[in-house]
Each structure stands twice: as structure tokens, then as C-alpha cells.
């Protein structure tokens, strides 16, 4: 490991822009203080790696509407609660009577729905390839158990099309390599990135989530710069083919669709929706295929695609802070803007007088 760190510190070639597209990678990079261990010629850029933060405002608005209807209960992972819609977040809406319940797993819906047949439980089904199979299993179990009072409002995304979009001709600054998402790859297999690596002639390295794993993967990207190759360095969990059972389960319940990404607009083929066959479980997801940006000044599209650094956004740290996030990148604790804000600690936050006792 020492030699890897030395390799990364002493790199003196051309400046490389490497993108991680997994929010957990982003978070672990920050938690491990990795940027400080790299040569100044290696820049890490965060891609659209958090499924929670790339949901569009309209999606949140719809969840809130649903949760305010008598008899409905929105069920969600904790981190969806603070994502802002066009006028409020689920957390704020809860204060006005919107019924919201936080769970650890979508599977918890089965028990809730089974025990309370008079309510309709609507899951805020966000996720990438990692989470979609979980929803497939939820539906499978619901069907098997005859549970009918379950709905999904989906905002499901797939990675390759958005990476393609990022690398595409429209982008001025090209990315020199991708830290391929480890847990997406568990399902899709590393082969999902092979076509992109070849198409753009840049390396993709599938990485695990320990600090060392991330460092080794970055080193691999540096070493492979300019090579259109996909390397799997998360071999304990990821294979070339991925989890075929999971892929089949997804195939059964879901089909590809266009999808809107917060701040980025609609990217063709970058999403999944429930098949018509299962539309009884759908809470109106197909109507939410547009992105209406909240704040026109938000540079999320640029930040997410590595063209703009958070501090370059005119809203950053001013109207846009972790407590008043304007775009996706400030929403998640793994968003680029959020993490930049906290590393930089602008005046705004330092001047607060803090409360002592809790």
C-alpha cells in the first residue's frame, strides 16, 4: 500500500481528471482524506453518483401530494427526507400532515402493508442498478403474499447511459478515467463498462469501498490513462457477468425508459420503469419524466459532469448551502457541492455562535 500511495503522490504526468460515479465512493474519499494523498496533477471529480440527489423536484412534489392524500403513507429511506421539491422537502411536508415513514428496507413494506390493509403504502423507489433488484424482490413477495396495498413511485436510473452522456461530444472537458461503481457492478458485472471504455479510450476500474481499495483503483486509473480498458479490482464481490438472477428479476418487472436527472435534463434510456403488466403497483411514475430546475443559477449539470467545480457556481455558499440546497450536488451528504462546502467551511458557517449544551 505504501508504494501505491508513493506512486500517487509522485505522479507528475499531465493533469488527470478522474471521476467517481458512486456517492459512497465520494463519501469514503472524503472520509479517508484521500485528496490530500494525491499529486496535484490528479483531480478527483464527483459524478451523479447518488440516486437520492438526482431525483427531480417534480418527483418530490408528487411524493408529497401522495402522502397528503387520506389513507396514503409514503415510505422512504432516511436520506430522501431532506431532498427539496419545488416548495418543500418530505421532512417539511410531514410537518403539514404528509404521512411519511422511514424504513431500513423496502421489504419492511410487506409487514406494514399486510398488517394495515386500510392504508396504501407508497415506496419512494429511487436507486441505481443496485437497488432495482430489491424492488423486484419486493414485488415478487407482494404478489406471492397477495398484498395489494403497495405502490412504487419509481425514479430508477442506470449508469452506463449517464456515463455515456458525460463523456459525449457535448462536454468540453473530458474525463480521463472512471472509478466504476462497486455495488452497481455487483449486479451488472464489470462488463457493463467495457463498451464505454472502448468507445472513449479511457480506463474504468471497478473499486471497493475501503480507503485502500479506492487508492489502488485510483492508482490503476493513473497507470491505465489513455487505455480503453475495464479492470475489476473489487474481485471479492464483483464478477464480469454480475448477478444473473438479479438481472433476470429486474427484467421481469422493469423495462428501460428515458429518465430525468436533477439539473441535467432527460437522458435517453437512462432509467427503468415498471412494465405495463405491473402497472397496478405504479403510483404514477411515468408522468415524471421531466426536470424543471429549481434555481436557474444552479450549475449542477456542470458540476455533475466535471466541467465546473462547486466553488465556481455563483450560488455556492451563498443562497446554496447544505441547509438551503438549490441543486442535487448540495442535497446529499455525498454531493460534490456538499462535500466542498464542508471542506472549505465558508465564512457563513464559521460566524455562527454555536449552542453548547445538547
Amino acid at each position: 500500500m505504501k508504494e501505491i500511495i508513493e506512486y500517487l503522490q509522485s505522479y507528475q504526468g499531465r493533469t488527470l481528471k478522474l471521476m467517481e460515479v458512486c456517492g459512497t465512493h465520494t463519501a469514503e474519499i472524503s472520509r479517508n482524506g484521500i485528496p490530500g494523498l494525491l499529486s496535484p496533477s490528479i483531480q478527483l471529480v464527483s459524478g451523479p453518483g447518488c440516486p437520492v440527489c438526482v431525483t427531480v423536484t417534480e418527483y418530490i412534489d408528487r411524493l408529497i401530494l401522495l402522502g397528503k392524500e387520506p389513507g396514503n403513507i409514503v415510505v422512504t429511506f432516511g436520506d430522501m427526507l431532506r431532498v427539496p421539491g419545488s416548495s418543500q422537502s418530505l421532512s417539511e411536508a410531514r410537518a403539514e400532515g404528509c404521512q411519511v415513514r422511514m424504513v431500513y428496507s423496502p421489504m419492511d413494506m410487506l409487514k406494514l402493508a399486510g398488517e394495515n390493509p386500510e392504508h396504501t403504502y407508497i415506496f419512494a423507489a429511487v436507486g441505481f442498478e443496485t437497488t432495482t433488484p430489491v424492488y423486484a424482490m419486493l414485488l415478487k413477495n407482494a404478489l406471492a403474499g397477495g398484498i395489494k396495498n403497495i405502490r412504487l413511485l419509481t425514479s430508477l436510473k442506470v449508469m452506463p447511459p449517464v456515463i455515456d452522456w458525460i463523456c459525449g461530444e457535448k462536454q468540453e472537458n473530458s474525463i480521463d478515467g472512471f472509478l466504476a461503481p462497486g455495488h452497481v457492478s455487483v449486479i451488472t458485472g464489470s462488463r457493463a463498462f467495457e463498451g464505454l471504455a472502448e468507445k472513449y479510450g479511457i480506463p474504468f476500474v471497478v473499486a471497493g469501498f475501503e480507503g485502500e481499495q479506492i487508492l489502488a483503483a485510483i492508482a490503476a486509473l493513473v497507470k491505465l490513462r489513455g487505455v480503453g480498458k475495464t479492470v475489476n479490482m473489487y474481485t471479492s464481490a464483483v464478477t464480469r457477468e454480475g448477478n444473473l438472477t438479479a438481472q433476470a428479476a429486474v427484467e421481469e418487472y422493469f423495462e428501460p425508459a428515458d429518465a430525468a436527472w436533477r439539473g441535467m435534463g432527460v437522458i435517453p434510456g437512462s432509467g427503468m420503469v415498471l412494465r405495463k403488466k405491473y402497472e397496478a403497483f405504479d403510483a404514477g411514475s411515468r408522468e415524471l419524466m421531466e426536470d424543471r430546475e429549481k434555481n436557474k443559477g444552479c450549475c449542477c449539470a456542470g458540476v455533475l459532469t466535471g466541467k465546473v467545480r462547486p466553488v465556481q457556481c455563483p450560488l455556492f455558499g451563498k443562497v446554496c448551502t447544505p441547509q438551503t440546497p438549490q441543486g442535487a450536488c448540495m442535497v446529499s451528504t455525498e454531493g460534490s457541492c456538499f462535500n466542498s462546502f464542508n471542506s472549505i467551511l465558508p465564512e457563513a458557517s464559521a460566524s455562527n455562535i454555536e449552542a453548547g449544551d445538547k
Partner: protein, 328 residues
Amino acid sequence: MKITMAHGSGGRATSQLITGIFEKNFNNDILSRMEDSAVVAGSSRLAVTTDSFVVNPLFFPGGDIGKLSVCGTVNDLLMSGACPKYLTCGFILEEGADSEELEKIAASMAQTAREAGVTIVAGDTKVIEGSGGIYINTAGVGFVPEGVQISASLCEEGDAVLVSGNLGDHHAAILSARMEITNSIVSDCAPLGEMVRSMQEAGVRIKAMRDVTRGGLATVLHEFAAASDCCVELTQSCLPVSDQVKGFCGLLGLDPLYMGNEGKMTAVVAGEDAELALSCMQKSKYGEAAAIIGHISGKERGKVLLTTPLGGIRVITELIGEGLPRIC
């Protein structure tokens, strides 16, 4: 701004709420230190008390929950013969509470604290699920001068019983708002420091004092009767009640004897000091309608008796049940 669970997290949202609202309004050196406890000057005899305030609506004619939360605790300190000095306040906010309202409440607390001469030295804020409610706990510390001995158990035969003004105003004001009855009844919510000091300085021998709050005068006097094992004898025609509150009580089948005030006190004083106490009360800011309403006897120990205008005797119990508006 609506309060959300994040405002109770203990993190940045909490501290911004504190800085933006509480620190600004309660501004004083001690609180600004923001330590786990406030360290303040002491005294050899302390009075300590606490009350929570859960009034609905939060704003009502004559006051708001903030003013109430200061008056209530200040008055409790005064009733024990103490000079009120320090307050703590704990806010429990339901999600959806309005921060502008919270700020108004804080400003009202600050103003009332200034009038009452107390300093808010420690605070806490928690957020719970719910629908916008605001609850406030205040605790108070006061200093008790040498020689002062005031207790519900010190009433003696021959003592006089006074009340500092009209009964039921606060209760009627709150209930009017809730039942949508239009009137000009205003809560009496007020700090009684000036009134108590005036009696103390005039040398009135005060045996027992209590502010007439939840449960009403009947409940307080019943407690005096029990604690001192004496009989409190009242004359109905001496009980001060405004005409409007009388009408209000008639409408809803309520009895002013069981209605709460938030700026009224009852005092038991040595019989010979009754007139002196009355004039002190009547001269002070919130005591215009004060009255001598009865005396302590040995007639029926542990009981409160009321002589009616017709000459009948009524036994007055403490409040039983909730004191709800009645149809029957």
C-alpha cells in the same frame, strides 16, 4: 420558516435556530456563553420551581405562551416569598411550528423577563413529530430573604383571605378563542413582583400566598385548608368577577371559582393586616380589583365554605374532572 426535525438534531440547524431567535431575544452575557450550564451568583436560601406551558392558542388577547411561561414561573417564586432571579427555558417544538411565531414568543418572553427583573440563563430546544405545536417549560431560581416564611400550612384562625383581582379572566380569554365566542375578555397574565414587594415592604404579615392558576381559586383555597387543617370561609358577594366573565360562564355552564388566572394571587394575611394588604394590592399595577373575600376559621377543618347571597352555605371542593363547557 417551518420547523423540521433537523432543528432538533443538535447540529447546525439547531444552533442557527438558537442564534437566530433565542440568543437574539434573550441576549445576555450568561446565556451567550452557551456552556452546558450557566454559572451565576448565588444566595444562602434559594427558591426553585418549574412549570410547563401548553396553552392553545399560542397567542391570545392579553398575552401569548411566552409571556405566560415567564409570568407563571416568576409568580411561583414570588408566592414562596422569593425574589425571582434566573429562568431556564426548554422549548419542545412540533414539526411544522412556525419560526416567525417562535420569534414573537421569544420576544415576548424577553420583554416579560425584563419587567419581572429575571434573566434567562439556560435554554434547550427539542423537536418532535406533530403538527406545529409549541410547548415551553420554564424553571426558576429566586433568592429568599432572611426571615421570610410563607407556606400553605401557616394559615391560622382569624387570618384574612384576599384575592388580587377578577377571577377567571385568563381561562375565559383562552376558551373564548377556542370556542369562537366574541368578547373583549383579556387574559390577566402578568408578573406579580411589584404587588408582592409592596405588601412585604409595608410589613404585611403574609402567611400563605399562591397564584390562582389551573384549578382556580377553589382548588388553591382547598389546599390551604388541607395544609393548615383549617376552614376557609368565603362570602360569595365579595368574590370579584367581571360582568363579561359572568356572562361567559353562564353561557358555557362554568364556575369562576374553578377557572384559571395567570396574573392573580390569593394571600392569607394576619387579620389585622387585611386592610393594609388590600390597599397594597389595589395600588399596584395588576391589583385594582383586589378584594378581601373571607377569613380563616376553625368551623369545618380542611374545608372551604362559601356563604351565598341567600344565606346558604356551599361546600367548595377542589376542581374535579376537567371543568369543560357543559350543555347540562
